[in-house]
Amino acid sequence: MHTLVPLPVAIPLGVAAILGALNGHVPRRIADAACILATVAVGAITLDLMVISRHVPIVYWFGGWTVRAGMAIGISFVIDPIGAGLASFVCVLVLAAFIFSLHYFESVGTMFHVLMLGFLAAMCGFCLTGDLFNMFVFFELMSAAAFALCGYKNEEPSAQQGALNFAITNTIGAFMVLIGIALLYSRTGALNMAQIGRALSNQMDATIIVAFVMIMCGFYVKAAAVPFHFWLADAHAVAPTPVCILFSGVMVELGVYAVARVYWAIMDGPFAAHRPALSGLLLTVGAITAVVGAIMCFGQRHIKRLLAFSTISHVGLLIIAFALLTPDGLAGGAIYTLGHGMVKAALFIVSGILLHRFGTVDEYHLHGRGRPHLGTALVFFAAGLGLAGMPPFGTFLGEHTIERAAELAHQSWIDVIFFFAGAITAAAVFRVTARVFFGWGPKHDEFSGGGKHISEQRETKHSGQGIPAVMFVPAAVLVLLALAIGIMPHVHQEARVAAFTMADHAGYQARVLDGTKLPDAKPEVEYSPLAESLARSLGATGAALGIAFLTLAPWYPRKNKAYRPIRSAMQVLRNFHTGHVGDYVAFLTFGVAAFGVVLGLLIKRFGF
C-alpha cells in the first residue's frame, strides 16, 4: 500500500511531462482523455490513502532514508485523513474543471493541460508532505502554475495585470515563508515538521515568534486574509473559469490548511501557554476578513469578481474555525471547506456558462437575458442557498460544528459573523439570480453601481442557443455533492476523528520520529442541539432573500437618505482596492509588521 504514496505527485507530473514534450503533436481529445484519466487515478489513490490512514497515519520516507536516532535524514510524506481528504477534494475540482473545459481554448495547444496537471501535482504534494521545506517547494510550484494559468487569456490587458498582481504579492508571501523556515532551521537544525516540533518542545522566544509570524503571514497571503487579500479579487476576475474553480474552491483554502498544519505539528508546544493571544488575534483577523469580503462582495457587478469577494469572506470564516485552536474547530473547518468549495465551484461554473452563452459576466449587461435557462438559474440559486449555510448543505454542517466548537471555547460572538457573512454573500448571489435569470428590478442599483465594467474576452469559440451538457452537468453534480456532504450520516464523526488525529501533537511526532503509535486521541462523543444553528442559518437565508428583494424591489425608494452612510462606507472600503500592486505590497508589509508587533506585545509584554 505504501508504494501508492508518491503516485499523487508522480502521475500528474509524468503525464504533464509527456504532453509537454509532445506539444502540438497530441490531438486535443487525447490530451483531454489523458488528463481526465490521470485526475481520476490520483483521486482514487488519495481516497484510498484517506481510508487507510484513518487508523494509523502513513509515514513514507522517499528513497528509504528513514529516521536515524530521532533525526530525519530524508524527506517524508506524512498522510493523515485531513491531508489525504483535501488532496482527493482537489481531484474532484480538477476533474470538474477538466470536464468543463472540454469546450475550451480550442485554438491553443496543450499547455493548458500541462499547467493544470502541474497545479494538481503541486496541490497534492502540498497536502501530503511532512517536511517544511518540501511544503515551500510545492507551494511555489503551485503558485507558478497558478500565475501562468491566471494570465492564460493573453490578449486582455486586465488578465495580465491580474496575473501580475497575483504573482508579485504571492511571491513575496513565499519569501516570507522561506525566511520563517530558515529561522526555524537555525534554531533546530531540522526541516522535518515532527522533528522541529520535538526540538522546540515548549520553548518560546522572539525568534520563534518572528518565524511563526513570517510563515503564517506568508501562507495567509495565499489564503487572502485581510489585509493580504487584494490580489484575489483581481486574479479571480480575470482568470479563465476552470482556473477560478480551483482558485476559489481549494487553492485559497490550502493557505489556511498550511497554517493549521504548521501550527499543530510544530507550534502547538511553544504556543501552549499563549493560546489566548494567538487565538484572539486570529479570530479578529478572520472576523475582519469575513466582514470586509462580504461588504465588497455585495458592491460588485462583475459576477466573477463578486464571487471572488465572497470567497474572501468565507475564507475569513475558515480562519475563524482554525483560530479557535481546538480539534473541534478544525473538524468544522474541514467540513466547511468541502461544502463551500463545491458550491463556490458550481457558482463559478455558472459564471463560465454565462460567459460562454452571452460573452459577458457583467450583471447589468446580462439583465433578464438568462430567462430561457431555468436549469442554470436553479443551480445558481441552490448554490446561493449553500453559501448562506442553509441545511442540509455541507456548509451548514460545517458552520454548526464550528459554532459548537466556539461555544466550548467561550467565543460565541462569532455566530454574528457567520450570520452576517452568510446573509450578505448569499444576498449578492440571489440578487444576481433574480436580475440575470428573471429580469427583476432595475438595471442598476445603489450598491453595486460603484463597481467597474471589466472587459472580458470570450473563452469559447461557438455559442449556439443551448448550454453544453459538459458545462451544466459538473455544476449540478457539485451542488448535489455539497448536499450529500451535509446529509451523509458519518461525516461529522469522521471529520472529528480526523481533526483529532491532525491536532495530536505528540502522536504525530511519535509516529514520524519513533515509528510508534500512541493511543488514539479520541474525541468524546457529544451531540449538541442543532436548534440554535438551525435558527441562525435559516435566519441568514431569510435575511439574504430579504436583502436581495429589497435591492430589486420597484417600490423601494432609491434615493433614500438612509442609504447614504452605507454607500459612503462602502466607497471608503472600495477606495482601498486600487488595482495597483504597489499599494497591495504596502498593505502586505504593514499587515505583517502589525501582526508581529501585536503578537509579540501580547505574549512578551502582557503575558497572554
Partner: protein, 114 residues
C-alpha cells in the same frame, strides 16, 4: 558569528519591498523582487556559516573537521531554481501586458478597481 550578514539580509528585504511598492514599471518590479529574494540567500548562507569551517566535502577529511552546513546551501540552490521560474514568468507577463495595453506602468492600468 557576527550579526552583520543578518543585518544585510534585513536591509535587502526591506529595500526590495520599498522598490516594489514605489515602482512604476513591471520589469523594474520583477528586478526588485529579485532583490527581496537575495535577502533569503544571504540569510540562508549566514545560518549555515561556521567560522573556520571547510567546504562540506568529507572524503578523506578527519572526523570532527568543522564544515559549513551543506543543507542550507542545497536549500538556497532550490530557492534559486524556483525563483528563476517565477521571475521569468513575471517578465513574460510584463511583455504580454506591453503588447496588450501598450504600457508596463501599473499606474496606467485602471480596470481592476473597487
Amino acid at each position: 558569528m557576527s550579526i552583520f550578514p543578518y543585518l544585510v539580509a534585513a536591509w535587502l528585504f526591506l529595500v526590495g519591498l520599498y522598490g516594489v511598492i514605489s515602482s512604476r514599471n513591471f520589469v523594474h518590479i520583477a528586478m526588485c523582487l529579485a532583490v527581496v529574494q537575495s535577502s533569503t540567500y544571504v540569510l540562508l548562507l549566514a545560518i549555515g556559516y561556521k567560522t573556520g569551517g571547510v567546504p562540506p566535502i568529507f572524503a578523506g577529511a578527519q572526523v570532527g573537521t568543522p564544515a559549513v552546513d551543506p543543507i542550507v546551501q542545497a536549500l538556497m540552490l532550490t530557492d534559486i531554481v524556483v525563483e528563476a521560474t517565477v521571475v521569468a514568468l513575471l517578465l513574460a507577463l510584463a511583455v504580454q501586458i506591453q503588447k496588450a495595453a501598450g504600457t508596463v506602468n501599473p499606474d496606467r492600468l485602471l480596470e481592476l478597481q473597487g
